[in-house]
């Protein structure tokens, strides 16, 4: 009964979405306030109906109702409650419900908080959002109904893929979808602006918080996924350039570019058509991620059940949404007023460079992901693109980005002073050299690349801190003055500082791990000792026990350093009988500077067990760096929301460098 209710709610949501996507759009064209206003209750109703549908499916999982095919295929009565709930989105149908839930949540947010938007813009944004809803709700109802019944119901379910039964992965998809779907807001705003034929700084002020929210969630989601791969897959790495990882990374890169170009629209009323295009591309890449995972065009660990019908539908959806938006773009963008011309050496010039390089980086990942397929389709020639390609192609593109990241924020809007900025960067150069020298003394004879990597990280961190210190006049004014300046600084400035610092920290972790990782693999019997990076690990015992839905062998490794006990590591090897699948549960001893990472493989009492130990220097910095970015995003977001609430001109523009947008809006003439 509950399942049928959920199915009904989905159908209802589709009907409401059809209304939401048509009538307000017509209303906006005819300037009919009543029709335009219809968008708000429609968005709210769509959201509520989707909540009911999602709730109904969750209820099926929580109560282990195996008469629902989806539950029977992906759950098991013995599964811990957390994974019963996360099982809802651990499969194709359920994850699509989560998709539309988040989509309608964003629509609802615009309906609820968008009172200060121009009515026609709001109506059009909600209409476009509703149109995306129609597409996805139709997709679920036509090809992937999660509420289908099974008769007779089996006694127990098939269980969820054990690799996915993990706390990190329980929250990875919701975060990732918040990011993917969040970019739908930027897309809806872009399409609405194209229909209106108008983009102004107020538009950018609206787009930025949504983009920032999506970007922050996506950063968190990718980090969780990477962290999960690191400790769950038990092979010590954290990023593999797997097609599906790339599918989430491309919208992130494009979204990062969008985040920065929207600043230029807001502050300088320029780069408008580019920003619109970027918003379309970013959401397009998000859709492509969804398509690639579900169509089986690329194979990967993450691939859902392959179904050509579904692949075709999503492709059709993508064609309508992105193709339609691009047609609109081709018609409308040329007539859009161009913003002011600007100097290459200026804040906006730096942001343009940032956009250019990030676009190249996105294209690099795009090509690397699709090239093998492309070449095979056109020439029949076979190649394989793996991590070597990405390391060789992606890293060099990102290096100038890092260089510029330190310089850009120091340049003023309109006309920057490059020599002046460089002069202020001597501290950063010094810091960078000091970091490189320190690395050299610590790791004499290390590869040249690692020194370069750290020098770049030092440069970025130095430049970022220099800029922040200058803004609050640290060390030039008494500390109390600096403190009050820091409090007075817009939160977005703090957010940017944190996010950029986060990237520097991340680079340290990534470089250290790729150059200095140590690993030892031995076949050990209880009593034997393994030495790595100054640690001695003694295998004390291996115990068998029974988990809720698995059997497990747990090793006990006593870790000693210089004769003193550090910790006990207990890596596990689990076997899930329902899915006939073993998993490894790594044990990690994390210090600020490194991870000591242990996993066990096959073995038995006579032959001994395979014990695998890694020493991964600075890996905790990778997660810390990503956390910095997420926190930076959140802090910045808290600023934005205030600003959107009170978008009075100049009110929040505290520093002298931010001229009001109206003064910058002199078009240089269309060509």
């Amino acid at each position: 009964m509950i399942a049928e209710l959920g199915h009904y709610a989905l159908a209802l949501a589709l009907c409401v979405a059809v209304v939401q996507s048509t009538l307000p759009m017509i209303g906006a064209a005819r300037n009919d306030t009543v029709l335009m206003r219809l968008a708000q209750p429609a968005a709210t109703a769509q959201f509520l109906a989707t909540v009911v549908a999602f709730g109904a499916l969750t209820y099926g999982y929580v109560t282990s109702d195996f008469s629902i095919i989806n539950v029977a295929q992906n759950s098991h009565s013995l599964k811990p409650m957390l994974y019963k709930v996360s099982g809802v989105w651990g499969n194709h149908e359920g994850s699509m419900i989560l998709w539309v839930l988040i989509l309608s949540l964003f629509g609802f947010a615009v309906a609820a908080f968008g009172n200060n938007l121009p009515p026609s813009l709001r109506a059009r944004v909600l209409s476009v959002q509703g149109l995306i809803g129609v597409g996805f709700l139709g997709f679920i109802l036509l090809t992937s109904n999660p509420f289908e019944r099974l008769d007779p119901a089996p006694l127990d379910g098939n269980d969820l893929n054990p690799l996915l039964q993990d706390p990190g992965l329980a929250f990875h998809p919701p975060m990732l979808y918040l990011g993917y779907v969040g970019f739908s807001m930027a897309f809806s705003f872009a399409v609405a602006a194209l229909i209106e034929g108008r983009v102004d700084p107020a538009w950018a002020r609206w787009v930025r918080p949504w983009t920032l929210a999506a970007w922050t969630a996506l950063t968190g989601g990718i980090t969780l996924g990477s962290w999960w791969a690191y400790y769950e897959l038990g092979w010590g790495g954290w990023w593999y350039w797997d097609p599906v990882e790339n599918a989430s990374f491309m919208p992130w890169l494009a979204g990062t570019a969008l985040l920065h170009s929207a600043i230029v629209v807001e502050k300088r009323d320029a780069l408008k058509s580019w920003t619109i295009l970027l918003a379309i591309i970013t959401f397009g890449l998000s859709l492509m991620g969804t398509f690639l995972v579900r169509s089986g065009v690329l194979t990967s660990v993450h691939t859902f059940a392959v179904d050509p019908e579904r692949g075709l539908y999503i492709l059709g959806l993508m064609s309508v949404a992105i193709g339609g938006a691009l047609i609109l773009y081709a018609i409308r963008a040329p007539s859009m007023k161009l913003g002011g011309m600007f100097q290459p050496v200026s804040r906006e010039g730096g942001l343009v460079m940032n956009n250019l390089l990030l676009s190249v980086a996105t294209a690099t990942v795009f090509i690397g992901t699709l090239y093998p397929l492309f070449l095979d389709a056109t020439t029949g020639q076979k190649v394989s693109v793996g991590p070597p390609f990405f390391n060789a192609a992606f890293v060099p593109v990102m290096m100038p980005v890092i260089l510029l990241m330190a310089v850009g924020p120091l340049l003023a809007w309109k006309r920057g002073d490059l020599p002046g900025a460089m002069a202020r960067l001597w501290t950063a150069a010094l810091f960078s050299a000091a970091v490189a020298a320190f690395v050299w003394t610590q790791h004499a004879g290390t590869a040249f690349g690692s020194i370069i990597g750290f020098a770049f990280a030092g440069w970025l961190a130095g430049g970022t801190i220099t800029e922040w210190a200058a803004r609050i006049a640290l060390f030039r004014q008494p500390l109390s003055v600096s403190l009050s300046r820091a409090v007075g600084l817009p939160r977005s400035a703090h957010g940017m500082t944190l996010a950029h610092l986060g990237l520097a920290i991340f680079i340290c972790g990534a470089v250290a791990d790729s150059y200095w990782r140590e690993e030892v693999m031995v076949n050990a019997k209880p009593g034997e000792t393994i030495s790595i990076a100054g640690y001695d690990l003694t295998l004390e015992s291996i115990q068998h026990s029974q988990g809720p839905n698995y059997q497990t062998e747990t090793a006990r490794l006593r870790v000693m350093r210089n004769g003193a006990e550090v910790t006990i590591l207990s890596p596990e090897r689990r076997f899930y009988p329902v899915q006939q699948m073993p998993t490894t549960e790594a044990a990690i001893h994390s210090t600020f500077l490194a991870d000591l990472y242990a996993a066990i493989g096959d073995g038995h009492a006579k032959a001994g067990w395979t014990v695998w130990v890694w020493h991964n220097p600075l890996v905790p910095w990778i997660w810390a760096g990503c956390m910095f970015m997420v926190v930076g995003g959140l802090i910045s977001l808290s600023d934005r929301r205030l600003r959107v609430g009170a978008p009075k001109r100049g009110q929040n523009l505290s520093s002298s460098e931010t001229k009001g947008p109206e003064s910058a809006a002199q078009p240089a003439g269309a060509d």
Binding site: L163, A229, L233, G234, W235, Y240, D242, S273, L277, I280, I281, G284, F291, S295, G296, V297, L298, T299, S300, V301, T303, V306, P308, G311, L312, L315, M318, S319, I322, G323, L326, I327, Y329, A330, A333, P334, P372, L373, F374, D376, A377, G380, K382, V383, S384, G386, P387, E519, M521, N523, Q580, M581, P582, A599, G601, D602, T610, W612, D671
Partner: protein
């Protein structure tokens, strides 16, 4: 001219969409990409053994029985997913399983097998990917069915699933065994 720039994204996207749609519309299952090599002799240059305890692969190793040849690498994530199934196939001894270690560092591959178990009867090392190119490998893992005469009969791209193994590969292996007897 200037207008063209604004139409360019649309054109690029149209090309991409058409390209994505082609295999689906033609009804190709991406996991069973037809191989140009079907029914042709498996090209096999001598491959040096990965492990000192096991033989490598040579031109004559693929004759005698029907066998599966699996291309794997330690850097390949999906290989890990299919590995437990390979171990079960090896334990059941229903069909010989040979491995080709594709573009991999030997130490990494040896460690990988030590951690997860070694399901292969023979393992050849294809360090430069030459053999992979000759077989038409495009994404790891890939599994080929090779008949008694050493001809490729089937190609599976991506991690092998139990269903594919039981419903497609084993019936084919049994059929091939009968045919050649």
């Amino acid at each position: 001219m200037n207008r063209l720039i604004y139409i360019l994204p649309l054109l690029l996207f149209a090309g991409l969409a058409a390209y994505f749609a082609t295999p689906i519309l033609q009804g190709k299952n991406p996991h069973t990409l037809p191989s140009a090599m079907i029914d042709k002799p498996a090209p096999l240059r001598p491959l040096e053994p990965l492990l000192s305890s096991k033989p490598g692969l040579g031109p004559t190793s693929l004759t005698g029985d029907v066998q599966l040849v699996n291309f794997f690498a330690s850097w390949c994530g999906p290989c890990r997913v299919e590995h437990p199934l390979l171990m079960q196939i090896a334990a059941a001894k229903t069909v010989p399983l040979y491995g080709v270690n594709y573009k991999d560092a030997p130490e990494a591959a040896v460690n990988w097998l030590a951690q997860l178990g070694d399901p292969f009867e023979r393992i050849g090392r294809d360090g430069d990917g030459r053999t992979g190119i000759e077989w038409g490998v495009y994404g790891l893992p890939e599994t080929y069915v090779v008949d008694r005469a050493g001809r490729i009969q089937y190609r599976h791209v991506g991690p092998l699933s139990r269903q594919t193994f039981e419903e497609t590969i084993m019936p084919l292996v049994n059929r091939l065994r009968e045919q050649n007897e």
